[in-house]
Structures are given as structure tokens and as C-alpha cells.
């Protein structure tokens, strides 16, 4: 399949966008979203590069790994959201505290 590289490049783009938001946004909800977008980017690279087979069928091993990855991502997201809610309950804000030296 010739669109493998297009989707792989989109995957890298998503990874970079997610990393940018992870660094720049202070709110934890956006950081969690950013990590999810980064994960989607990695999955896209994995599966799109697995379509470069001779008969055009996508390699099953990366597909299975991505399905595993999606489930692990939702587990991590649920735990992160619960941690964010506890932080908000304890401090009244879901943003990371300012560093002392700034």
C-alpha cells in the first residue's frame, strides 16, 4: 500500500503536536489529552509501516500490539483522571503548582 508513509508522517506529526501541548499546557486535563494524542501517533506509525507487505495485507503482530496499547492507554487515562480529581479536591486546582525559582 502506497499510503503507508503518508499515515506514518501523520503519526509523527501527532506525536510532535501532543508533545508540544504536554509541555506548554499547564492544565492536567490537557496534558492527559496530549498523552493520548501522542499514543495515537505512535499507534499510527506502527500500523501504517506494517502495511508495506508483499500481498498488501497488514501484518497482524503490530495490529495486536496496537489493540493491546489502546486498552493500556484507557487504563492509564482512567487512573490519571482519578489522580487529577484527587489533586483538584486537595488543592482546588487541576494545574501543576508553580515552581519556586520562577
Amino acid at each position: 500500500m502506497s499510503n503507508a508513509f503518508l499515515y506514518a508522517l501523520v503519526g509523527t506529526g501527532l506525536l510532535s503536536l501532543g508533545l508540544y501541548a504536554l509541555i506548554v499546557r499547564a492544565h492536567l486535563l490537557r496534558k492527559i489529552l496530549a498523552i493520548n494524542v501522542m499514543g495515537s501517533g505512535v499507534f499510527l506509525v506502527l500500523v501504517s509501516l506494517a502495511t508495506r507487505t508483499a500481498d498488501g495485507t497488514t501484518d497482524a503482530v503490530p495490529q495486536a500490539m496496537v489493540i493491546t496499547g489502546i486498552v493500556v492507554a484507557i487504563s492509564a487515562t482512567a487512573l490519571a483522571l482519578a489522580l487529577m480529581l484527587s489533586l483538584a479536591a486537595a488543592t482546588g486546582s487541576a494545574e501543576l503548582p508553580e515552581e519556586d525559582d520562577s
Binding site: 495515537s40 508483499a54 497488514t58 483538584a88
Partner: protein
Amino acid sequence: MEALTVLLWMFDAVLAILLLWLAWRALTCPDHFEAIVLFIAFGLLMALSWVRLDAPDVALAEAAIGAGLTGVLLLGALVGLRSREFGDGMARGGQRTERHPTYPRLLVVIILLAVFAGLALVILTFSARADGLGPAVAANLAASGVANPVTAVLLNFRGYDTLLEMVVLLTAVLGIWSLRLEPFSSQITRGPVLDSLSRFLVPMMILVAAYLLWVGSHASGGAFQSGSVLGAAGVLLLLAGWRLRVGLASAPLRIVLVAGPGAFLVLALFTLLVQGRLLEYPEEHAGSLILVIETIATVSIGATLAALYLGGRPAEDEEPR
């Protein structure tokens, strides 16, 4: 034929632009609610991309888990956040002006452009043909007990991945329960529409889950897709105001949560002792063993995902409804 190819290329290009644009908007727009809705749309377009990449199993998992359940989790967390955050931002849902970082944002952009360029260059140097493990999977598919290569990899060739994944799910629930948050409470408004919709949809969803589980042996589907549909049914029931009866909230719920990883561990030990290898099924029983383990895993995954949504340990001394 030529026209179709051009059309598909245009579709791919539009999808690529939309994916990047939605991700960008979801991460940068000021309103959290808008961001979550954009993220759900992003997940659905990801599912479309998986179909274009000839990976329908991943598409099913993405649509059910990546877009659906993650979106519901995020929306639930946003509601919880609005009731917990205080200060000047409270009235608008924690939407106070976000702090700006003290370092130059331009520096971050330049570094990340370099990261993107580096990764893109590496990817473009890959050869246009690579068979990967496809031939190895195809050669051993007959011995795996199922006809769908993805299910064969998930439940047989790399069964230990799935075993550990079940443990990850359980660990997430344990982590959330240990935070002692209030479970998603009865603050929801119950109405006749939601009530009758849930009565109509939940049996259908259970049917769809059973179908996905069964069809997973020879076509797209399987334990994870099926379990996430079950989990979605559980979330719908919770939203409609249904609660577990007190007697079921403690021991039976825990048994169901542990059943998936537990059954996998028993099978792993059994195969280790009998076959001498971890999760190496006897060839003549592989198909039925996979079906049994998938069924238990499906119910367990469904319960785990609903428990993740509930967000806290269900009360054991609450009045039954």
C-alpha cells in the same frame, strides 16, 4: 480504476489534514468541554484511518475504546472537576486564564520541529517493502485454533501480552479505588428517555458483544472489542441511574474483576506444567481453550471498564435501588 485511486488518495489527504487539525484544536482551544468533544471526533477519524490501513480489528477497538469510552471518562472527569475546582475559575469550569510557561515558547516549537523532522527523515528512509512477521503468522495460523490472524496473535502467539494487559486493567482499578474518591454519584438527572433507551439498548449491546466475541475467531472482532461494548453497556446503565445491588457490589464484583487475569494465570500455569511452555496450548484443544479464555476475559474487561468509569469503589452499605 484510475479515478478510484485518485479519489482514495484525496480521501487519505483530507483525513490526514483533519486528524492533525482536530488534534491541534483539541489541545489548544480554550474550553475544556470543546476540547473533549474534538478529541472524541479525533478518535472516530482515527478509526477511519485504521480501516484505510486495512486493520479493521484496530478500528473496532479504537471506535469503542479510544473514542467512545475514553470520551465518556473524560466528560465524567470534567463534571467532577467543575465541582471540585474553586477560585475564580470555578463558575466557568476551571476556565480561568491558564498560566503561561516562563520559558520562551518559540524554543519549544523549534525543538519539536527538529524532533518531527528527525523522525520523518528516519521514516522516509525505510524501504517501501517489508514483510515483517506476516509470513510467520500465516505459516502457523492453522495451529493456532482460530482463523483470524489478529486473534491468533493476541490469544495464542503472544498470549502473554494479553495476560499482562489484563493485569494492567486490574491495576488501574486498584489504583483508582485506593484513591478513595467518591464513586460517580447519583447527581445525574434520570428521565424517561434515557431510562427507556437504556432498557432497549443494553440487551442489544450484550447481543453485539456476544457476536463480536464469537466472530473474533475467524473475522474482525474478539475479546477486547466485545469487552468494550459490554463496558459501554455498563456505563449506559450507570448513566441511567442503575446501581449494583449491595450484595453484588463487594465480593461478586471483585470476583468478576479478578476472573480475567485469574483465568489467564491458571491457564498459563496449566500449560507450563503440562506442555512445558507458558501459554502453549495443546494443538487439538487450542480453539476451544481460546474461546473459553476469551469469554471470561470479555466479561472481566467489561466489568473493569465500567468500574473505571465509576471512578471509586462502589459503596457496600448503600441502600439498594
